[in-house]
């Protein structure tokens, strides 16, 4: 199993009055080649969880298996560099971390750090800029002069240029306008389908979970309370209610119709299919 958490606990500031258990004996196996959503309220441990994937945090107890590596509290940080090449982590608001003079230099920074030649780093940077939808003609501009959405794409390109197998994104659409966040999610789908990246996305947006993700992990109070396919998850009305999950629009509308006597088949998740199913029931 390439990514797995085995009884992983993590405590911030252990042994001090501020000690705080952010993860409590988490057991979890992530399916490779899929898009997995990680959801849960603020403070439930989502960000702490994903920071274990490239060993930014090491478990206080238990172990994390990532691509044939086992990470425990005993590992020396130095040995973890090769791991970071394979797991790219994009933080919240990554655009605040751009720092180079030009877009190109910023994207090249990652691959150069992993020992790639100047020439190869440049080639990769130009390629990944295209992949994330940035016109290569702005490669020589200062990243600080661009719009927020563009900056975020450049930050993501910087991680992709390292060519990781696993891409982890912490709230990648926060603060983007509706179309910007839609095309961002489409980018992750493309990276998954076309470039075969395993993608993990921390999000609060249930529309995104329904429309773009395969599996869902729900964190609550430092524990993984459920891990299943997105399809199963949104079919379990009782669980959604218990976890206080905002039901996506299509499913909410479908439920209201069912209450009014029009029940539609299972598995409808997008607007067009919903409209067709309704029309099928109404029109002669």
């Amino acid at each position: 199993m390439p990514i797995a958490f085995e009884k992983v606990s993590y405590t911030y500031a252990p042994g001090t009055p501020f000690s705080y258990a952010a993860l409590k004996e988490v057991d979890l196996a992530i399916e490779m080649g899929k898009i997995t959503a990680i959801i849960g309220p603020t403070g439930s441990g989502k960000s702490t969880l994903v920071q274990h994937l490239n060993a930014l945090l090491q478990p206080s107890d238990g172990q994390v298996l990532v691509l044939d590596r086992i990470i425990t509290h005993a590992d020396k940080p130095k040995q973890l560099k090769s791991l970071r090449k394979n797991v790219g982590l994009v933080f919240q608001f990554p655009e605040y971390q751009l720092f180079e003079e030009t877009v190109l230099k910023d994207v090249m920074f990652g691959p150069l750090n992993f020992g790639v030649s100047e020439e190869e780093a440049k080639k990769r940077a130009m390629e990944t800029l295209t992949v994330v939808g940035i016109d290569p003609s702005i490669a020589e501009k200062s990243p600080l002069d661009l719009s927020g959405g563009q900056k975020r794409r450049i930050a993501i390109a910087g991680i992709l240029a390292i060519d990781p197998k696993v891409l982890v994104l912490d709230e990648p659409t926060a603060g983007l306008d509706p179309q910007g966040s839609k095309s961002m999610m489409q980018l992750f789908t493309q990276l998954n389908r076309q470039y075969e990246k395993t993608v993990l996305i921390v999000t609060h947006d249930m529309e995104h979970v329904l429309n773009y993700c395969d599996n869902v992990v729900v964190m609550q109070d430092g524990k993984c309370v459920t891990h299943q396919t997105v399809k199963e998850f949104f079919n379990d009305g009782k669980l959604l209610h218990e976890l206080n999950i905002k039901v996506p629009n299509v499913l909410r509308f479908k439920e209201s119709l069912a209450k009014g006597g029009m029940s539609l088949p299972e598995g409808i998740s997008d607007l067009q299919t919903l409209a067709k199913a309704i029309a099928g029931r109404i029109k002669p």
Partner: protein
């Protein structure tokens, strides 16, 4: 006299490309106005011009009828409060109490009265039990509520929110929206909110739509949110029910009022029963 009136406003950051181009609009007293537009359309620049953080190149800004100039900036700022997007960028005090006190100190409020004022506004935003906490340890929604308390303590007549909920989780967003609604209703405060949240637009009295530095739509949200095709062209979104009604229309099903989701469900279920 309108609380905010803007005439032919123009601004650019680099003297070349205008970020705000010939913008005119007004805001009614006690109204809830929303401004929408894609990232980079000039929304936040307008907010910064309104409170004098940026200086306009051309045009006029009138707050309660008085033109905004360098000379009366202080007077204008006591009437207009603003809450920004990033809750982490607007804290000064070491505790929540100090943070709310900061604005009061700047306005030479008598220290004897300060504690009472702070407690009153902390109560209004439901943060009384956090007064001695460090702001860094609060959640995003709590931080924004403290920021609002700090603004309220200056007793402004107008509250500007510059994407104040866009960095918050659903719970934080709900709490802040509820607080703003409450201020709007109980204090009849004039609200100007820059937002991407279509639900917030739907419940506002008036919406301005920006694109490329200009206001391209201005009016009743019920009317504007219906114009789905136009909104998509402007890289915006429409309410779910409007989008569904449009899909149904393509399939030959025409409904009365797509802004009202419950009514839509009723109509569809009736059509279903009739068949």
């Amino acid at each position: 006299m309108k609380p905010i009136e803007v005439k032919h406003l123009k601004f650019s950051y680099d003297q070349e490309t205008d970020v705000v181009r010939d913008v005119s609009f007004s805001v009614e007293r006690g109204s809830y106005t929303t401004i929408i537009g894609h990232n980079g359309s000039g929304k936040s620049t307008i907010a910064k011009l309104l409170i004098g953080l940026l200086e306009k190149e051309e045009g006029e800004i009138l707050i309660d009828g008085a033109p905004l100039t360098l000379e009366n900036l202080a007077a204008i700022r006591s009437k207009v409060g603003i809450v920004f997007q990033n809750p982490d960028n607007q804290f000064i005090g070491a505790t929540v109490r100090d943070d709310i006190a900061f604005g009061l100190e700047n306005h030479n409020v008598d220290p004897k009265e300060m504690d009472g004022i702070i407690e009153r506004f902390a109560q209004e935003v439901n943060m009384t039990s956090y007064l001695n906490h460090e702001p860094t340890r609060l959640s995003g929604g709590q931080k924004q509520r403290v920021a609002i308390a700090g603004v309220l303590a200056m007793s402004p007549e107008i509250l500007i929110l510059d994407e104040a909920t866009s960095m918050l989780d659903p719970e934080g967003k709900g709490d802040v929206n509820e607080l703003v609604d409450q201020l709007h209703h109980s204090r009849n405060m004039t609200i100007l909110s820059i937002t991407h949240d279509i639900e917030e637009v739907r419940k506002s009295d008036h919406v301005l739509v920006m694109n490329e530095g200009q206001i391209v739509m201005d009016g009743d949200p019920d009317v504007i949110l219906h114009r789905y095709a136009d909104l998509v062209k402007l890289r915006l979104d429409a309410p779910f029910s409007v989008k569904l009604a449009l899909e149904l229309k393509k399939l030959g099903i025409v409904l009365d009022n797509p802004m009202d989701e419950e009514g839509m469900v009723d109509q569809l279920c009736r059509l279903h029963l009739k068949k």
